[in-house]
């Protein structure tokens, strides 16, 4: 008799508890920060927003974000189009646009500095061999200029835009393009009149994410922008937390505009994606643009891979093999000394295992939690309130720079009721928070595209909901889950902004060790460490590919 109610209440209770836990984890640190910023008559706000240069800082933040967003959107879209047009023989090239995320952003930025520093940059030195530049003794490119910071930041965001746009392109059936072609549109016409308008949701979504990442961009401005005194909100936050005495209140205040924009973007994406029916193109065959395949596409993708991946990696690799950073390359100077030293340095190898362990632990928790949230949002439409809250909360971390969570966690977990400081747990918790959006979104997308029929078929076969999720839903989500795992693993093993705040001195991850080398040691060691990180990440991805097949990266 009570069957209906009991069952309802059980699921309500379960999801309610889940949402409360996530709410505590995600909202609490932000709350703590804001409390701090508003303490003593909002002294934090006053100290941060009373600065004479705050206007300039905000302008730079927005300018950098928008300019690099534009670059990323154009490149990401073109790449997505190009990869869909790769000749069959070189189809493997389509993983190239996502590969740059395997390289830590610090390595990427430092790599570019090695290549394009106006004096000893290898590429600059090469270019100065050219007749029309041979009179220069520095340049021609100045990587420390804001133009180049924007370009490099834009390159960094391109992979993310690509991920969203190419996923969107997969959903456009080829018949929609052929229809345009046979109506008399040239290939260019098809791209502008049909492909781009149909991509609007992906562009809006990917653009939103890239905008947030651009606003939260930290590495480029900090490492390259010193020269011209470039200040953005994140570097300001960093400054406030690295001056003495540390001014957390001001850092929290500096984060506020980002928090607000983040929430706005997340909400507006939710709103825009709610009306997506007009962009869904149903129909069997997947995207294969009209007009056949082109070697120009292969050339373009290859060129991008060379510029965005090979060049900076090469820069880093050369430096890691040199005894010191120098524009004069010669083979006999190359040495493995840096690697030897790195291995000898205490903590480095522990940091590798800490990174891997904490990342895996976070991923292992994120996957089921993400599945539960995805199921709640997609399949439990009757729990209106809970599911809306869950949806917004889990999207939130995407909108906030990791540094914010780092500081917030430091403040939250060094006080009762949960004193976790100094344990790996606090790192794992931050990682969970940072990755929840990815775990949730990716599984949500997969669940939506899987539809209800598979689980309904299981229910009418006599399987209870639990059996259904174990035997049907999870196995069918395997590719999506593996892709999510790969992406989260990549992002987490590179993480340093949040880790920096919550690590204890004896619990280091790779990102923080690299950061320490960067701020205390030598660039050659930084380079070696960056190579090590890339190798660890690549190994992780390789394992995921072994388990999940070659298309793990495609499914991103």
């Amino acid at each position: 008799m009570l069957g209906v109610d009991l069952q309802r209440w059980r699921s309500r209770l379960f999801y309610g508890a889940l949402v409360v836990a996530l709410g505590y984890l995600i909202v609490m640190p932000v709350w703590r920060l804001q409390t701090l910023a508003f303490e003593n008559d909002a002294a934090g706000y006053e100290s941060q927003f009373g600065r004479p240069d705050i206007g300039e800082t905000l302008r730079t933040t927005v300018g950098l974000a928008i300019a690099s967003l534009v670059i990323a959107m154009v490149l990401g879209t073109l790449l997505a189009y190009a990869t869909s047009r790769l000749p069959r023989r070189v189809g493997f090239l389509r993983i190239i646009p996502v590969l740059p995320i395997v390289m830590p952003s610090v390595a990427n930025v430092v790599g570019w500095a090695f290549l394009l520093s106006p004096g000893p940059g290898y590429l600059n030195a090469l270019m100065r061999q050219l007749p029309w530049w041979d009179h220069l003794d520095s340049g021609p490119v100045n990587v420390y200029s804001s133009t180049w910071i924007i370009i490099i930041t834009g390159f960094g965001l391109t992979s993310f835009v690509y991920l969203f746009v190419s996923a969107g392109m997969q959903n456009i059936s080829s018949e929609h393009l052929e229809a345009a072609q046979s109506s008399g549109s040239s290939q260019l016409g098809v791209f502008f009149k049909v492909v781009l308008p149909l991509l609007r949701p992906s562009l809006v979504y990917g653009g939103g994410v890239a905008l947030l990442l651009g606003l939260g961009q930290f590495t480029g401005p900090l490492l390259l922008g010193q020269n011209e005194g470039m200040k953005v909100l994140t570097t300001e936050m960093y400054r406030r937390t690295s001056e003495s005495p540390v001014n957390y209140a001001a850092a929290a205040a500096a984060a506020s505009p980002l928090v607000i924009v983040g929430i706005l973007v997340v909400l507006s994406q939710r709103f825009l994606l709610g009306n997506q029916a007009r962009f869904v193109t149903h129909g069997g065959k997947s995207f294969a643009p009209a007009g056949g395949r082109s070697y120009w596409a292969a050339f373009f993708v290859g060129l991008y891979g060379f510029v965005a991946l090979v060049l900076p990696l090469l820069g880093v690799l050369i430096v890691s093999l040199s005894p010191y950073w120098s524009e004069n390359l010669s083979w006999d100077l190359f040495t493995l000394q840096n690697y030897r030293e790195m291995v000898r340095t205490p903590g480095v190898m522990e940091s590798v295992s800490t990174s891997v362990v904490t990342s895996l632990a976070a991923v292992a928790i994120c996957v089921p939690v993400g599945l539960a949230v995805a199921t709640l949002v997609v399949r439990n439409r009757h729990l209106t309130v809970v599911r809306t809250i869950a949806d917004v909360i889990t999207a939130l971390p995407l909108g906030l720079p990791a540094v914010i969570f780092g500081v917030g966690f430091l403040l939250t977990y060094t006080q009762p009721p949960f004193i976790l400081y100094g344990t790996k747990w606090v790192i794992i918790l931050v990682y969970i928070v940072l990755m929840i959006p990815f775990a949730t979104r990716m599984q949500m997308t997969a669940l939506i595209s899987m539809g209800n029929t598979y689980s309904e078929a299981s229910a009418v076969s006599g399987a209870s909901p639990l059996v259904t999720s174990l035997r049907v839903t999870l196995p069918m989500l395997k590719p999506a889950v593996l892709s999510a795992v790969a992406l989260m693993f990549i992002l987490l093993t590179h993480e340093f902004a949040a880790s920096l705040m919550v690590r204890s001195a004896t619990t280091q991850v790779m990102g923080t060790v690299l950061y320490d080398h960067w701020s205390n040691g030598s660039y050659t060691l930084v380079a070696a460490m960056a190579i090590l990180m890339s190798a660890v990440t690549a190994a992780g991805v390789m394992v995921a590919m072994l388990v999940g097949g070659r298309n793990v990266l495609d499914n991103l």
Partner: protein, 375 residues
């Protein structure tokens, strides 16, 4: 025979849209019931309420005398505890399991180990002629094979009631015929109760022991295929099952006549109606070349040829008679040669026997037969 499955007073809405509206339906043991209706009339929703995949707002559903849903008692047995099988339009085979595991799944989750050991999986696969496909994955099968496996999966646990939601509409013409015959035979040999949703009338006629024609959440007519075919209850039913020729008649001094003034003999008593609509099957309409003599005692209308489509032993011909269009089947042997060389606009005549008409009061009102009672 006692009704084995009984739906009474079932209602279900989405928001303010009432989708299923106080619906009553009974399915006898081993009976094959076809739910026929246009898109959006609530067929799938009714089926899903039966399966327990959707929770209705009101009503009662009984399986073999036991309530599985009862709004007054707040009872709702979940889908996995009802003894049903279901076959989906999109097959919904689990792509990560082999055919064998797909078919064995309902047995496994219902802990029917004995049946598995006794070779039920192989037996069921054999029944749908797919015994040789057991170790393939669904993606390695053609559409027809996939739908057969879905059938086997729905039947392997020998449920009391099997629900079909347009299982044939994703198949192409030839396969559709094959799988349809397959379902027919399996039903005869296993004798399960079945509810089969479709909006293809020829499928409905071919398969059903009984037909329920739905309209906007209620049942408009329930009867045997023969009954429905020969005596559609309402104009709506007649139209929906393909009795597509329609002729409006007005009362004249002597009886009834068409808009063009042709007298028509109506065999029914229609005391109050001023205007009626007559329905005639395309098969019942005769085609005559312009100069042919017309049969006596038949309703004859002069018309002009619109188009004709070859159909093997017959032609599907469309003609315009007055303001109405008529579709009819013309025998290829008799009419083939001139039809092939004729052009649109050619004058022809059509005729049909008055007793082949079904007559309904004009307007979209659902009525009971005999029409007299409805007036």
């Amino acid at each position: 025979m006692m009704a084995s499955f009984r739906i009474s007073g079932l209602s279900k809405s989405y928001g303010s849209n009432v989708i299923v509206d106080d619906l009553d339906l009974e399915i006898d043991e081993g009976e094959f019931l076809v739910l026929l209706g246009p898109s959006g009339c609530g067929k799938t929703t009714t089926l899903r309420c039966l399966a327990g995949l959707e929770t209705p707002e009101a009503g009662r559903i009984e399986f073999k005398g036991q309530a599985v849903y009862d709004s007054s008692a707040r009872l709702n047995v979940p889908a996995h505890k009802r003894s049903i099988g279901m076959v989906f339009q999109s097959y919904a085979l689990w792509p990560n399991m082999t055919v064998r595991r797909n078919i064995a799944y309902p047995l496994k989750v219902r802990k029917m180990k004995d049946a598995i050991a006794a070779g039920r999986v192989e037996e069921t696969a054999e029944m749908v002629h797919c015994g040789h496909l057991l170790d393939r994955y669904p993606s390695q099968l053609s559409g027809g094979q996939q739908q057969r496996i879905a059938l086997a999966r729905g039947l392997s646990a020998r449920p009391d009631l099997v629900l079909f939601d347009e299982p044939l509409s994703n198949l192409d013409a030839r396969l559709r015929d094959q799988v349809r015959t397959e379902i027919h035979r399996l039903h005869e040999s296993l004798g399960f109760g079945a509810v089969f949703v479709t909006h293809d009338q020829s499928e409905a006629f071919a398969l059903g022991d009984k037909l329920a024609i739905m309209r906007a959440g209620t049942i408009e007519q329930l009867g045997t295929p023969d009954d429905v075919y020969n005596n559609p209850a309402t104009d709506y039913v007649a139209d929906f099952i393909g009795m597509s020729n329609r002729l409006e008649l007005r009362r004249s001094a002597t009886g009834w006549q068409t808009g063009d003034g042709v007298d028509v003999l109506v065999h029914r008593d229609l005391p109050d109606a001023e205007a009626v609509v007559a329905r005639i099957w395309p098969e019942d309409v005769q085609l005559h070349r312009g100069n042919e003599p017309l049969p006596p005692h038949a309703v004859a209308l002069s018309a002009s040829l619109l188009s004709s489509e070859f159909g093997g032993r017959h032609y599907d011909v469309t003609v315009a008679a007055g303001s109405e269009e008529f579709r009819l089947r013309a025998d290829a042997a008799t009419h083939g040669s001139w039809l092939r060389s004729s052009t649109a606009g050619e004058p022809v005549a059509i005729s049909f026997r008055p007793d082949q008409m079904q007559v309904y009061p004009l307007g979209e009102v659902a009525v009971d037969r005999p029409l007299v009672a409805a007036s």
